[in-house]
């Protein structure tokens, strides 16, 4: 424990004496974690948008006027047989009018002359998986009492495509940045090793073990990672707070913001672990390469 504290003290003294090296390493790692964190937050947001759509009826079957309860039950039975249905809800003409009025309450000119008669009754169908909606829509459309079918195929397909793209681009960019961080740490620690060449030589002469000489450099790399993770999480939090009004204005119905603060705690935890690993790994490679003990 005593030795550990002495090694930590050596680490921080070295960092203080070479602030530019430390800043360079932290800046590159900050970029890695900020971009990485942003991709994670965007991924979470797109998942939230997808769940929003999943929670809504994806297929709406507008029924012909005069459809009887038996016919409606028969359609329900046919759909439930597929085993892909989460729920089916019947919306009467009167309920449709209420929904219409509620959605357009700020624009009375649109609701003034609308009555329940001109709105069709409908069946709102939610599928268990979004990809089943096309099949269910076709099945619904084939029913004789169904006049028209609306479903969210294009929106959901696009959204799924975008989510996947974000994920792939994110993984590629993060991988590239992590590798860059490892190389930068390697160079910075390598430089520090050459700056402390004399000190290392003296340490060897007075009987310091390899571990005693190597450990402060590993701590140094790990500290860069930890500090970068902390700063980037704070920056991500600040960015989310700053962007919240804009996000709410344009994507308010999806309830993306406010982001649960627990998300940032997890983000910090994950980034700290990756940071410590990346920093110590870069340092470890540097000590293997440049530190001849």
């Amino acid at each position: 424990m005593r030795t550990l504290l002495r090694l930590l003290s050596t680490t921080f003294k070295r960092i203080r004496r070479n602030p530019y090296n430390a800043s360079g390493a932290v800046a590159v790692m900050f970029l890695t974690f900020f971009v990485g964190g942003s991709f994670i937050l965007i991924s979470l947001a797109s998942n939230k948008i997808l769940s929003y759509y999943e929670s809504k009826p994806q297929v709406i079957a507008f029924l012909k006027d005069g459809t009887t309860q038996e016919q409606i039950d028969s359609i329900k039975t046919d759909l439930e047989k597929t085993d892909k249905i989460e729920s089916i809800e019947f919306v009467s003409k009167e309920q449709a009018l209420e929904i219409y009025k509620e959605r357009n309450q700020s624009r009375p000119e649109l609701t003034e002359f609308v009555t329940a008669d001109i709105l069709p009754a409908s069946l709102e169908v939610s599928t268990r998986a979004l990809e089943d909606q096309t099949e269910i829509a076709k099945l619904v459309a084939a029913q004789p009492q169904v006049e028209d079918v609306a479903f969210l195929q294009e929106v959901v397909e696009n959204l799924t495509k975008w989510t996947k793209t974000i994920r792939y681009v994110g993984i590629s960019v993060i991988t590239f940045l992590i590798l860059t961080s490892i190389f930068v740490t390697l160079v910075v620690i390598g430089l520090n090793i050459s700056l402390h060449k004399e000190e290392i030589e003296i340490m060897k002469l007075v009987g310091a073990t390899e571990r005693y000489i190597r450990t402060p450099f590993l701590f140094e790399g790990a500290f860069y990672g930890l500090l970068s993770a902390l700063i980037s999480t704070l920056a991500a939090y600040a960015a989310v707070v700053w962007l919240s009004p804009f996000v709410n204005r344009y994507l308010g119905e999806f309830s993306i913001v406010p982001v649960n603060p627990v998300v940032f705690v997890y983000l910090l935890g994950a980034e700290a672990l990756v940071g410590i690993f990346v920093g110590s790994f870069g340092s470890y490679v540097a000590t293997r390469k440049y530190l001849k003990v």
């Binding site: 002495r6 004496r17 003296i202 007075v206 009987g207 310091a208 390899e210 005693y212």
Partner: protein, 232 residues
């Protein structure tokens, strides 16, 4: 006891030492003399395993230091103090911190480090300078700091490679007095030097090395040593 048994050291095709047979008793003060490149520093480097012999055995006590595992080398170096012409002090540490450094490495408690370091600094008359940095010291004081650092773990053997090479005669004399004192306290001392005035100033055994071989081994009786040392 230090024993060199048929020790040779070659760098590529150049022979630095060849067939060295040597025994040094505990508590001896040995000067290694000879021209530059004769092999004096190589002999000292072999003793702290900074170099490995090409052939032969080097025994320190019972241990063959050429065959100890790499992980044991730091432990070997803790039992052999070393001082150099260029002092090799850490410029950003105070005199106290430089001397305390070997004790920190072995993980001693702060109180023990404080006590042992101050005791050692008193031995070299530097306790008043404990908070000074190396650049605030004279050459003699810097070398005495280096001696204190080499002795702080109370090693049985002290190796000195041209320790007076950068010093004025007065400082060199002070350093020699300290080395003589440490020798009287029981330390075995091997000192490489060019300075014949120095070698004449103390009772000693003198090994002359030329072209990698021991050219002359002059032993001086202990009694004579003490008389000569006392006169100076």
């Amino acid at each position: 006891m230090i024993t060199f048994d048929e020790v040779s050291k070659q760098y590529n095709l150049t022979s630095a030492l060849s067939d060295i047979n040597l025994e040094i008793e505990d508590g001896e003060f040995v000067f290694l003399i000879g021209p530059s490149g004769a092999g004096k520093s190589t002999l000292l480097k072999l003793l702290i395993r900074e170099e490995l012999p090409t052939a032969g055995r080097i025994l320190v006590g019972e241990r063959d230091i050429a065959s100890i595992p790499e992980s044991q080398v730091p432990h070997l170096r803790r039992t052999i103090g070393t001082i150099f012409q260029d002092f090799k002090l850490l410029p950003q540490r105070t005199v106290f911190e430089n001397v305390a450094f070997p004790l920190e490495i072995i993980g001693l408690p702060d109180e023990e480090i404080q006590r042992t370091t101050m005791e050692t600094l008193k031995l070299v008359s530097l306790d008043e300078r404990a908070e000074h940095f190396p650049w605030q010291l004279s050459g003699g004081e810097a070398q005495r700091t280096a001696i204190a650092r080499s002795m702080v773990q109370r090693p049985d053997i002290l190796l000195a490679d041209e320790p007076t090479g950068n010093l004025d005669p007065q400082s060199a004399w002070e350093v020699m007095q300290i080395l003589a004192k440490l020798n009287k306290l029981g330390a075995t001392i091997l000192m490489a030097t060019h300075n014949f005035d120095i070698t004449n100033s103390l009772p000693h055994r003198m090994l002359e090395i030329r072209e990698g071989k021991i050219a002359k081994d002059t032993k001086v009786k202990k009694e004579t040593k003490e008389v000569k040392g006392a006169k100076k």
